[in-house]
Amino acid sequence: MFEMLQMGKYGAYVWSSYGLALIVMGYVVIKPVMDKKTILKDLMMKYHRESHQHIESHQLKKEQENL
């Protein structure tokens, strides 16, 4: 078994290639999953802000009228 993993004298080369591929390809698929969370959070906050801005801008106008 160990013989097999050693791949003659080329074990380091072969395994580092496969390992690197695993890391890079793993990152490529995990990145969008992580991104999605932040996007959902940001958009939630944005919509939240917008629904309140309505009220705020009214208040601002009133303040200016009072001045």
């Binding site: 097999m4 791949m7 003659g8 004298k9 080329y10 074990g11 080369y13 072969v14 580092s16 290639s17 496969y18 690197l20 591929a21 890079v24 390809m25 990152y27 490529v28 698929v29 990145k31 969008p32 999953v33 991104d35 999605k36 996007i39 959902l40 959070k41 958009l43 939630m44 944005k46 919509y47």
Partner: protein
């Protein structure tokens, strides 16, 4: 004809795309995973040792599919860029720009695995061979594409500018492919892609093909999930995104 176009526009509407892509991603993802695992096991342990290169040739099962993908994805980007420019289909822009980082990742993989393979075979990590160099240039094209995209503030202008860049950069693809024929160099010539009779043994061809298809499906899954994110951002003012956001983030909280 008009009906067909209408149907395409309908399918390519962001809302539809988001829903359909969400259903497709698991399919592509799992099939890709199965193919890749099978291909790796076959390639690493089952395929016979090469009489010339010893076990080092097993890098081929990563290197070659990655190199193919690096070129294929660039072509996808250029084509969808052209589609977006001509027919003004927003989704094509989204696909193109979601592809760029994946393509860059594959190019990087092809370069590094090639380099790792080169050390035992050629005795050097790098040689200034035409194919190697043109692959390096492809990496720069990807990087330039991404740099341009992030430099332009307005996302719609950015997408259109990048489409032009991608189309112009296509000239590099034939150069990469034919470089081994134009210059006599160290890098191996066509062994797999010779149409009539591949000069590679069938026991090695099978894992290579498994990996190649696995990479393709993997790409589809990855690009779709990126594109779904992009669609959420570009369509953030539309009501359906508001619904989706409320639904999906609500579901998480529960």
């Amino acid at each position: 004809m008009k009906a067909i176009m209408k149907w395409i526009y309908h399918l390519a509407s962001p809302k539809h795309f988001y829903r359909i892509a969400g259903k497709l991603i698991p399919w592509f993802g799992w099939i890709a995973a199965i193919l890749l695992i099978a291909g790796s096991i076959d390639g690493l342990f089952i395929a016979p040792v090469d009489y010339q290169q010893g076990d080092s040739y097993r890098i081929i099962f990563i290197h070659v599919p990655a190199a193919w993908m690096s070129m294929f994805i660039y072509m996808v980007m250029a084509t969808s860029g052209a589609i977006a420019l001509i027919w003004k289909i927003k989704l094509a822009d989204v696909i193109a720009s979601s592809s760029a980082p994946i393509g860059a990742a594959f190019t990087f993989l092809a370069l590094v695995t090639g380099s790792i393979w080169g050390k035992p075979m050629w005795g050097a990590w790098w040689v200034w061979d035409a194919r190697l160099t043109s692959e390096l240039i492809l990496l720069f094209l990807y990087l330039g594409y991404m740099a341009l995209e992030s430099a332009i503030e307005d996302p719609r202008s950015a997408a259109r500018a990048c489409a032009i860049l991608a189309i112009v950069g296509v000239v590099n693809i034939p150069i990469i492919h034919y470089s081994v024929e134009w210059w006599n160099t160290l890098h191996q010539g066509a062994t797999v892609t010779k149409l009539d009779k591949p000069s590679i043994h069938i026991s090695m061809l099978i894992p290579l093909m498994l990996m190649a298809f696995g990479f393709k499906l993997y790409y589809v899954a990855a690009v779709l999930s990126r594109a779904r994110n992009k669609v959420l951002i570009t369509e953030q003012n539309s009501s359906w995104v508001k619904e989706v956001v409320a639904l999906e983030s609500g579901a998480k909280n529960v």
